[in-house]
Symmetry: C2
Subunit: 112 residues, 2 copies
């Protein structure tokens, strides 16, 4: 599977999650992060995801969705909400979550 | 300086640049990448930038802008256009560049 998400022509939405991990790693972060990507893929309206974290603990995950409704439904998912609470309490020193409307896309090379 | 961009209240715009580096590193990539961030910071309407690349060569850089006009002006900057051409020819196996309107933001912890 390519790193780049194979998003559709026309308008869609993105959630940019930029985060700084806590110095204390905490148990379960990796497994929960993987589980959340797996769970997101099963949600209605999910279009793709791109995620990077570097050795300093800085990360950006961008998920793509067909509508704001799909994003809100995913944000309210019960298992996801438990993970969000644990993230704030233990795993993330700080984060910014930005919901965006994608207005246009340019491509170079293969992906998807 | 924090990893997280200290973006304003209300609407603004983002450019999500997701890329896969070429296997052959090529000279000058690091210096040019740094120079482009420095140059972007000098542009009218620039609000901030967040950037991560992992050891596999996958990267996401998100820059934030006050308007689509500022984004288009930056895209057309002469020095930036030379770097874009070199990036396509030598440094990036593939990329996606998505221009977005930020509709809302949620914060946890400090940043900016």
């Amino acid at each position: 599977m390519s790193f780049l998400a194979d998003t559709p022509q026309g308008h869609y939405y993105s959630v940019i999650f930029s985060s700084v991990r806590s110095a204390d790693d905490g148990d379960g972060y990796g497994a929960t992060a993987e589980r959340m990507v797996e769970l997101a893929r099963e949600q209605p309206g999910f279009l793709g995801v791109e995620s990077v974290r570097d050795a300093d603990g800085n990360g950006i995950t961008v998920s793509y969705w067909d509508s704001l409704e799909s994003i809100h439904r995913w944000g309210a998912n019960a298992e996801h909400r438990l993970a969000q609470a644990e993230g704030r309490a233990r795993w993330y020193e700080s984060y910014r979550l930005r919901v965006c409307r994608v207005e246009g896309e340019r491509r170079h090379g293969r992906g998807g």
